[in-house]
């Protein structure tokens, strides 16, 4: 069982321009499966915040419905196709609703799902997925920036199935996961060494060890939001979002 935290904040760049933030996060839990999703809408896509909302919602739904297939199945290519098809179908509906093209909804996609002793990670585009195993902070999936700083792959790209990175494994020794958009990764991921910042381990530990209260907005979440809204946001002009799973110590 994992405790969760997820939060997105509009970046200083969008605030100065008076435009909406384009990062979105979501969490869902059902049938013993927990899922965290994060999406970063593309800067030039006119409705990307709605695209990001669509993929985090549909991503949670799909990873709950199909978790056991993805965690235990043999056909990884089919699994990647199923994820992309499902998210793109949701985007097609969103495009109809907003009378726009599917490309106007472009976003990245990062997800982690856990259940029993298994986990599944899916990642398209930039941002980082990390985890702590046997007390060591590790990167599961790093940013896909191709050659240039302002280029990456999106769920709406033509080659998404090939570029979607899918990982699965045992939760033995795993004490938590962290997802972050590229804005948050400016201060939480060292692009020179490819390592996560020590803060990631602390954020996961805070999430795991905070007292459990009967509140949807407990003290630890409010404090974590303040860290994202101040320290992490101050390091970039981009929107910032993170999602954290911290494992309860049984």
């Amino acid at each position: 069982m994992f405790k969760e935290f997820h939060h997105q904040v509009r970046g200083r760049g969008h605030e100065a321009e008076g435009t909406r933030g384009q990062d979105r996060t979501a969490y869902a839990r059902r049938a013993g499966i927990q899922v965290l999703c994060l999406a970063d809408g593309a800067g030039s896509a006119t409705h990307s915040e709605f695209g990001a909302q669509s993929v985090v919602h549909d991503g949670c739904e799909l990873l709950i419905d199909r978790f056991h297939d993805f965690a235990n199945g043999d056909d990884a290519l089919q699994a990647r196709r199923d994820i992309v098809d499902h998210l793109q179908a949701g985007l097609a509906e969103t495009a109809d609703k907003f009378q726009c093209e599917i490309g106007d909804l472009a976003s990245t996609f990062l997800a982690v799902a856990v259940s029993g002793d298994r986990f599944v990670i899916a990642h398209v585009g930039d941002g980082v997925v990390g985890f702590v195993k046997h007390g060591e902070l590790r990167v599961a999936s790093g940013p896909d920036n191709a050659e240039f700083a302002n280029a990456t792959t999106f769920i709406t790209s033509s080659d998404t199935v090939a570029s979607l990175r899918l990982f699965r494994g045992s939760l033995e020794g795993v004490s938590g996961f962290i997802l972050m958009s590229d804005g948050a990764s400016d201060s939480l991921y060292d692009q020179r060494s490819g390592r996560l910042a020590p803060a990631c381990e602390k954020l996961i530990a805070i999430t795991a060890t905070a007292p459990t209260r009967h509140s949807k907005n407990p003290e630890y979440k409010r404090r974590l939001k303040r860290i994202v809204n101040t320290q992490i946001r101050a390091a970039t002009k981009d929107d910032c979002s993170i999602g954290i799973f911290g494992r309860l110590i049984s």
Partner: protein, 226 residues
């Protein structure tokens, strides 16, 4: 567990760079007002980059000159390390192809430095300025055209060929720019051009993944003729 995140728990990554190569004709025909206005324009460009919060840390500029030979006046450097130019003495012929090849070689070397040190960068820019016709080795010219157009076609380089004055060979400049016609500077409006260039560099340095950086082509109207 303490909820405090200290400064050394976080990472300070280097600012992604915008490499800008100025490849300029310093042949004898540039003597007089042309070279003086060009040098003044380059220094104004430096000042504008220096004053812009976004471009200041992102822009890295190099200057290559070509005449009867080529030389690297300034290797890629950030604004705080750039030497202001006092003057350039124009002389000799117009080895344009050789100059462009040196600019591309210098760019490739810089990209290797970025990659080796984990510094992200944006699509590089090449500004090519000449007032005449190339008269160096024709094979070098053809190689330069091929290299530039290949990079432009795969979106790995943005090129701005600029003709200075009535004698600039616009047909040769056009061969370097498959997607956009070359521009002829109206009069000696270097200042206006470099103001536009600094604003455009700033715009690129603010872009994030997925951004299509739209160049302010209307802004070109003040200093160039299409």
């Amino acid at each position: 567990m303490s909820l405090k995140i200290a400064a050394d728990d976080l990472i300070e990554n280097p600012t992604p760079r915008v490499p800008v190569s100025l490849c300029i004709d310093t042949s004898g025909s540039m003597m007089g007002d042309k070279i003086r206005e060009l040098v003044e324009g380059v220094n104004l460009f430096y000042d504008a980059i220096d004053a812009d919060d976004d471009a200041h840390d992102a822009a890295e500029i190099s200057i290559i000159e070509f005449n009867s030979g080529t030389s690297l006046i300034q290797d890629y450097a950030s604004i705080e390390r750039l030497q202001r130019i006092d003057k350039i003495d124009p002389t000799g012929a117009t080895f344009l192809g050789e100059g462009v090849n040196l600019a591309l070689d210098t760019l490739e070397a810089r990209k290797s430095v970025y990659s080796g040190s984990g510094v992200l960068y944006y699509q590089p820019w090449l500004v090519l300025m000449t007032d005449g016709q190339p008269n160096g080795d024709n094979r070098e010219l053809e190689r330069a055209v091929e290299r530039v157009t290949e990079l432009v076609n795969v979106k790995k380089l943005t090129v701005f060929p600029i003709g200075i004055g009535a004698d600039a060979d616009m047909s040769v400049l056009a061969r370097f720019s498959p997607n956009r016609p070359p521009l002829r500077l109206r009069g000696l409006n270097f200042k206006e051009f470099f103001e536009w260039l600094s604003k455009s560099v700033s715009r690129v340095s603010r872009s994030t993944p997925g951004d299509t950086v739209k160049l302010d082509l209307e802004g070109l109207a003040g200093w160039a003729e299409l």
